[in-house]
């Protein structure tokens, strides 16, 4: 067949497939005489290549959404460690006296709002779509994965409430307070045991949430959501929509990371004693807690950055 006909047939394949195999495939087609059978064969093969590309892209999008959610869970744990350390500590007054510390703290809050809003906006249609699928298809496994994070979060809240009730409202089983002692608090061994249980439940909640949301994003089937309002019809692919918001969430996590780095640096220079006297979870020093927070935010930022990079370079269409 002519090179022009071959080029037309090659153009039916996905772009990334053409980039890899286009030239050599065109050369092979040129060695074949044009016939209905050859054209039909190429059409079928091009269709299969598009289907493969769509499947690869969908699976890639699932990985992206799962990665961003896992990064967010890591950022939540890091944020809790930081907040628990600063709350009711001498760091509050030290921050108030220094513009850089106060500004970087605001930066952390802005980053948190950015990432949380991206997660919420992306998560709502995706969650709704997965729920609709679970209800329509009566998939018990999907229900289970959806409820595991909720059940573990409920177990954590119930645990903290129960401990508080049993100690007459004096002790909240907080990992940040196990190293302190007050007359109305339980014995040290009880504080450590309950604090460790709270931390384990928090860790389990985040891990279970990251694992189940990642699996749901990657494996469950979803339907496009149709929104009709006053004559305007919009159809949304929830997974593509969530992927489009991944860079937004990543920016939020990066802003938090930068804020934490600047905040720690400024606090060390303004009032090193305030940082040292503050206490992190399980009696960790303020400095150690800050470093731990920085490492966790660093991992979260790296995971979200990788996911964002993949939204720009999807898996090759085959």
């Amino acid at each position: 067949m002519t090179s022009r006909t071959a080029a037309r047939l090659v153009s039916l394949y996905p772009r990334r497939w053409r980039m890899r195999y286009g030239q050599e495939f065109a050369a092979l087609l040129e060695e074949h005489p044009i016939s209905l059978k050859t054209v039909a064969n190429v059409l079928r093969s091009a269709g299969e290549a598009h289907m493969q590309a769509a499947i690869s892209q969908e699976s890639n999008q699932g990985v992206i959404v799962g990665s961003v959610w896992s990064a967010w869970m890591m950022a939540v744990v890091a944020g809790l460690i930081l907040y628990g350390m600063v709350d009711d500590s001498p760091l509050v007054s030290a921050m108030a006296q220094n513009l850089l510390s106060a500004a970087s703290w605001t930066m952390i809050q802005v980053g948190c709002v950015l990432a949380a809003s991206a997660i919420a906006i992306a998560g709502l249609p995706l969650g709704l779509s997965i729920c609709l699928y679970a209800v329509r298809a009566r998939r018990g496994g999907v229900y289970l994965k959806l409820t595991i994070p909720l059940i573990s979060a409920f177990a954590l809240i119930a645990w903290v409430a129960a401990v508080r009730m049993f100690t007459g409202g004096h002790w909240a089983a907080s990992p940040w307070a196990v190293a302190f002692s007050r007359p109305d608090w339980p014995a040290e061994s009880v504080r450590w045991l309950t604090g460790l249980t709270s931390a384990a439940l928090l860790g389990f909640t985040c891990l279970a949430s990251a694992a189940s949301i990642s699996q749901l994003a990657q494996n469950s089937q979803r339907r496009n959501l149709r929104i009709a309002y006053r004559g305007i019809n919009v159809e949304v692919n929830p997974l593509s929509f969530a992927c489009a918001l991944a860079p937004w969430a990543a920016v939020g996590i990066f802003v938090m990371l930068a804020g934490v780095a600047v905040w720690g640096y400024s606090v060390i220079h303004v009032s090193a004693t305030a940082l040292h006297s503050a206490s992190g979870p399980f009696g960790l020093s303020g400095l150690a807690s800050w470093i731990l927070t920085l490492i966790l935010f660093g991992f979260a930022a790296a995971i979200s950055a990788r996911a964002t990079w993949h939204t720009r370079t999807p898996i090759a269409g085959r």
């Binding site: 030239q23 050599e24 495939f25 074949h32 005489p33 064969n41 093969s45 091009a46 085959r318």
Partner: protein, 111 residues
Amino acid sequence: MRNSTRYVVVESKAEQFSDPPLLVLASLIDGPKHGYAMIEEIERMSGARLGPGTLYGAITRLEQQRLIEPLAVEERRQPYRLTVTGRRALRTKLLAMRQIVLAGLRKLEAQ
């Protein structure tokens, strides 16, 4: 390309029962080949003439699985060769097929 109706029927049936990736691997046993040479070799071996789309579908999958690898381009033609993993995978598959063939023939002859 053959033109006789009879051959087309035989050819399509042969392709229907063939495993294009396996045929591509088998065509590369005696050395690297480009697409057209693979089609010719496969036809010699099995009687099935793969269409260009089918051939490149198989090449795509095999390269993805690292069972074959491309060599330097020769006048727009891209030769491929078996990788060590590809040779091993092909041998395993052929040995398994031999067992199926022997068992199947024994059963057919026993009837």
